[in-house]
């Protein structure tokens, strides 16, 4: 398996030893490079996702989707991004200016922050703390503040309703989300992202195989709760275009709206990415214990595995979104507090028992 840390170490050595830069300068250059890489990756993946969403949704609905800009509509997203960039950004007169302006930035910050935790390849985890999962959930929940502020700051009645909904929904679902991650952590024994993936390499070591029943339950609950956390259908209460026009971002134009739009799609990707990392082994390839097969699988780079798994989950989430009607706010909360959360707690106990008695696949 190719280890990306070879590249990073080589580059670090290049800065420090060949060029002879000090600690400060080399770390600065590395940070800038990594930061740029994150942002570029973020933007590119957003474009891919938007295009994918359009085509997948169109095919579910027996449509063709965008067909005009470029062959098969391939340039449609770039046209849209360009349009959004050159649109006027207006500020609503009676809005609370500071909150109104800060909100999209907070949303995108939470999203980019969480994005940086994804383990792309062996040795290519950008933020790799020992409390990784813990920090990840903390950072990703900054987004809810942004959405709430956007709704409140716009001084629009629809937006306020939407902000209330978003806050109550996202805070509720955070509970299940974290419980599912903790369930996984019990099995892996580490909160570090690279460690979690590390624990899943080897034949049938992916968490949903390793942890069988409790892990599978946690996986599905995680997908549902993550879907709700990303504010996607059937949980798109906050946006609910047929009820609240556009919810919290009704009053935003241009890139103000663009940030919400980007964050929405990237949150989808992040949820799928974390699910892939924690439950489907991240960049870990399919190994079944037969050497020849495993060798071939290991030859495929980790990033392909990671992206493949993530986009597969993204497709599943789109399939869900484009099938179901939206729930009502009280039903969403009922689903969380009456069904998902109790299930997660029981599941947590179950997982503990499984691990304590060593019933997992070793």
């Amino acid at each position: 398996m190719f280890d990306f840390s070879i590249v990073t170490q080589w580059f670090d050595a290049l800065l420090r030893e060949t060029l002879g830069l000090g600690d400060f300068l080399s770390i600065l250059i590395e940070c800038v490079l990594v930061g740029t890489a994150i942002l570029v990756g973020y933007a590119l993946i957003a474009c891919v996702l938007i295009f994918m969403e359009r085509k997948v949704c169109a095919y579910f609905q027996c449509r063709l989707g965008p067909m005009r800009v470029g062959y098969w509509g391939l340039l449609q997203v770039f046209a849209d991004v360009l349009k959004m960039l050159i649109k006027e950004i207006f500020i609503v007169d009676k809005a609370d200016k500071i909150l109104y302006l800060v909100a999209p930035i907070l949303v995108i910050m939470g999203s980019v922050g969480a994005f940086s935790f994804l383990p792309w390849n062996n040795g290519a985890t950008i933020l790799d703390f020992n409390v990784g999962v813990f920090l990840l959930t903390a950072i990703s929940s900054i987004g809810v503040i942004g959405i709430f502020l956007a709704g409140w700051g716009s001084n629009n009645k629809y937006s306020v309703l939407s902000a209330m909904r978003a806050a109550v929904q996202m805070i509720s679902y955070e509970v299940s989300l974290c419980l599912c991650l903790i369930t996984a952590v019990i099995l892996t024994g580490t909160m570090q992202m690279s460690g979690i993936v590390e624990a899943q390499t080897g034949p049938f070591k992916w968490l949903i195989f390793q942890g069988h029943i409790p892990a599978i339950i946690a996986f599905f609950v995680f997908l549902i709760a993550g879907n709700a956390e990303a504010n996607r259908g059937p949980f798109d209460m906050a946006e609910a275009e047929s009820e609240l026009t556009a919810g919290h971002h009704t009053e935003y134009s241009g890139m103000g709206f663009g940030f919400f739009y980007l964050a929405e799609f990237l949150n989808l990707f992040i949820i799928a990415g974390i699910a892939a990392t924690v439950f489907l082994g991240g960049w870990a390839p399919v190994n079944i214990g037969i050497d020849a097969f495993d060798a071939v699988m290991n030859y495929i780079p980790g990033i392909v595995w990671f992206m493949g798994k993530t986009f597969f989950l993204v497709w599943i989430l789109m399939w869900i979104k484009w099938t179901f009607p939206r729930l009502r706010i009280d039903q969403i909360l009922k689903l969380e507090w009456k069904y998902l959360m109790p299930m997660c707690l029981i599941n947590l106990v179950l997982m503990t028992v499984v691990v304590a008695l060593g019933l997992y696949i070793k």
Binding site: Q61, R63, L64
Partner: protein, 181 residues
């Protein structure tokens, strides 16, 4: 509904209906993956696979005899029948050189396509079978004044598309033609 079902029975039932929904959209997604689509690609298909019903009301035209002459006698019945005042007929009295009888001669038959609501009252009112609606639908222009058509002065030679007046391509209930060729 909630009360007479058990907690778990409800979950089971609910999951089943959700699964049926997922199955249905799955089926539509993968069934004839490349052809099971309903989007028609206008304008790419305008000269190929487009179908326009023959009776579609696109615009009013004069029916012409084979020699190109029209049947309108400027009786203004259509003008009176029109609820919108879409038709303006100007005519003058002239003596027919052959019979010597005085007869109305049409000067201008102005039809404002922009005002027309395609109610067919004018064609119903006409006693001389002089006007009809055709399914020629591509009537957009950049200037509103161009919508005022002078039917007696134009020589209408079929629609803007080949084969349009016969309805264009074939169609069939339950099928879409999403191709452009």
């Amino acid at each position: 509904m909630e009360d007479n079902k058990s907690y778990f029975g409800e979950i089971g039932q609910g999951l089943k209906t959700l699964a049926i929904g997922m199955k249905t959209s799955w089926k539509e997604y993968f069934k004839d993956f490349f052809t099971n689509k309903s989007t028609e690609q206008y304008p790419e298909n305008r000269k190929t696979t487009l179908h326009v019903a023959k009776r579609h009301r696109g615009r009013l035209v004069f029916k012409r005899n084979e020699d190109g002459s029209y049947k309108c006698t400027a009786c203004t019945l259509c003008e009176k029948a029109c609820p919108n005042g879409t038709i303006k007929i100007t005519a003058h009295m002239a003596e027919d050189p052959e019979t010597g009888k005085k007869k109305k001669v049409l000067d201008d038959y102005a039809y404002d396509l922009g005002d027309c609501m395609f109610c067919q009252l004018c064609t119903n009112a006409c006693n001389f079978d002089a006007i009809e609606f055709t399914n020629d639908f591509e009537n957009a222009v950049f200037d509103r004044s161009k919508l005022v058509l002078h039917l007696n002065q134009e020589v209408y030679a079929g629609g803007s598309l080949p084969n349009l007046l016969e309805g264009g391509a074939e169609w069939q209930v339950g099928k879409f033609n999403t191709k452009t060729k």
